[in-house]
Symmetry: C2
Subunit: 85 residues, 2 copies
């Protein structure tokens, strides 16, 4: 595995899983008033575009992290619908 | 400009600027209680790693968006320090 690929895997580990404590916090507080639904939907759309970019260029880290990232962002969006006021 | 580069620029437009309505919402509500500081700092660290990845592979969209993304995430972190309880 080229070292750039390892770097991309580590970078994606951070930017993809960063959202997990945010999701946990919102579900724990049972409040998503401060979460912007425009943020969430725009981010989801962008992640799907990065996924296409990764597929086109065959960049493995970008493909993997954006699939996981899309799923996690859906969880935050569900929290917004459930707890957003 | 190769079409993959245009795709990366559009994808980054979404994922980078998505955070702007989130920042605006927190500053408008003067409340960042729901924002996870672990989310924010982990995301910032990951963005800086993606920046290095982009520099190593010479991927222009990744370089540009991660510089802007880092700056925007600092704004959200400042909001957390100012309004987080």
């Amino acid at each position: 595995m080229p070292s750039s690929e390892i770097l991309g895997l580590v970078a994606g580990l951070f930017t993809t899983f960063a959202i997990i404590p945010q999701i946990m916090r919102v579900y724990k507080l049972k409040s998503a008033r401060e979460i912007s639904v425009i943020y969430n939907t725009t981010m989801l759309l962008g992640i799907l575009l990065w996924l296409v970019y990764g597929i086109v260029l065959g960049l493995v880290p970008i493909i993997i992290w954006n699939i996981i990232g899309a799923l996690l962002n859906v969880l935050l969006l569900l929290a917004k619908f459930k707890y957003g006021r």
